[in-house]
Symmetry: C2
Subunit: 230 residues, 2 copies
DNA sequence: CCGAGTTGACTGAATGTTCAGTCTAGGAAT
DNA sequence: ATTCCTAGACTGAACATTCAGTCAACTCGG
């Protein structure tokens, strides 16, 4: 019989190695998904990437489906955590918002799992047919919108932002970011990362009523994240 | 060798039947893709739908890839044509814009190929890995943005709209619509079609400076779409 | 008008490959 | 010696694509 490893992590702590193995495989899966795409991801590829056998992968994740779903969940969680981390490092609401927008728009200094934008496309497509994935996506998206919304509320309370319906704004910005993410992921020459960033920021600044200029190494809003050059 | 049927439609009229067959198959493919999703679309399914054999499908489209690519191209073209058609039926720029937005947001009275929104997800995902599809998407998107842009320019000249950078607006709205399309396609309860429509229209109205209220059967902007069928 | 030859449309039955998922048996830890 | 781990070899099914023709509609020389 199987240990029926629970998806919430801890399982039995007796074997630290087992959990490590699982995590390693999830990460390997993510790498392969990014590189080859969802549809082209074989268990054997993941196994190879993780330096083990296909049989072992199945041993840990009962099915391929479960592996992929877990990989996606992991990716989303990392993404969210990264967002929280970045926001915490910035004091002003406008700065936090800029950080969020930069995260989806500017590809450099990839967040934990590389190529998140690329994965999203597969993610969405899969969510359309796969209930479990759909629910992961829905939750993840919800969480993200709530992050934006509460950020806006905070900014309004501190007087940084105009007062407007924060939910409307969160939903709109979130949609716009998703839309730009597509263009960026697909490398559309007409709408590159920098342009998406600019347009998103202009939208936010305009709606929320704060000043924003391209981060010229001295703007009031701080440069988004670390060093990045056009 | 093959007749090498040109992709721009009319081709040579010598054999009406062959082209009909092709078109029929493309439409069948589209149906299957919508129903089962891209990855789960088998040639046999398409053949069955079209009332023929898998071998015949391959006979017309050398490979499955070609069939799918052509199906996507067809879908996009229909979508675009539908857009043009709808716009032509409305006099004001604001009305046209509303029509466009309604088309992506409101699911009712599906445009020619049903479930376009759903297909987009697969479309994007596939574009990420498949050069040919990528180019189809890029062109299609470009065309769409240009449509919006020239619409805005026209509205500005007639004095309906504020003056602003029409390209910036087109790119932003287009992104927002894509983003909402995802939520709608996936049936996210937090952002349903009506809400997406409202938020998009508010964005447009706000940016372009025209009045807009929910179409109350007598608004200045006409109700989005009406009865239409081939 | 006719029948041998040609060609395009079409099919059912292979073929061959590619994988997800077993199975079995060996190794390591307890 | 029992219980996890692990992997190589297998199984079985799902499919895309090919093959070897059949069929019907034509042409065209006589």
């Amino acid at each position: 019989m199987h240990k029926d490893v629970a998806m919430d992590g801890q399982a039995d702590v007796t074997s630290g190695t087992a959990d490590q193995r699982r995590a390693q495989m999830v990460r390997a899966a993510l790498d392969v998904i990014v590189a080859r795409g969802f549809a082209e991801t074989r268990i054997a590829d993941v196994a190879q990437r993780a330096g083990t056998s296909a049989a072992l992968v199945i041993y840990y994740f009962k099915t391929k489906d479960q592996l992929l779903t877990e990989a996606i969940r992991y990716s989303e969680d990392s993404w969210y955590a990264e967002g929280q981390r970045r926001m915490a490092a910035v004091p002003t609401a406008a700065g936090k918002l800029e950080e969020i927008i930069a995260m989806t728009c500017l590809p450099e200094a990839d967040t934990g799992p590389a190529g998140s934008r690329l994965i999203w496309l597969d993610f969405w497509a899969r969510a359309a047919r796969h209930v479990e994935v759909a629910s992961v996506r829905q939750k993840s998206d919800q969480r993200w919108r709530e992050t934006i919304q509460s950020l806006v509320l905070a900014g309004q309370e501190s007087g940084e932002f105009h007062v407007l319906d924060s939910l409307d704004f969160a939903d709109s910005l979130s949609a716009m970011l998703d839309g730009f993410a597509i263009q960026i992921a697909l490398g559309d020459p007409a709408v590159d990362a920098a342009r998406a960033f600019k347009l998103s920021m202009c939208f936010a600044a305009h709606q929320l009523g704060f000043e924003w200029i391209w981060p010229q190494s001295g703007g009031m809003t701080r440069e988004p994240s670390s060093g990045q050059q056009p």
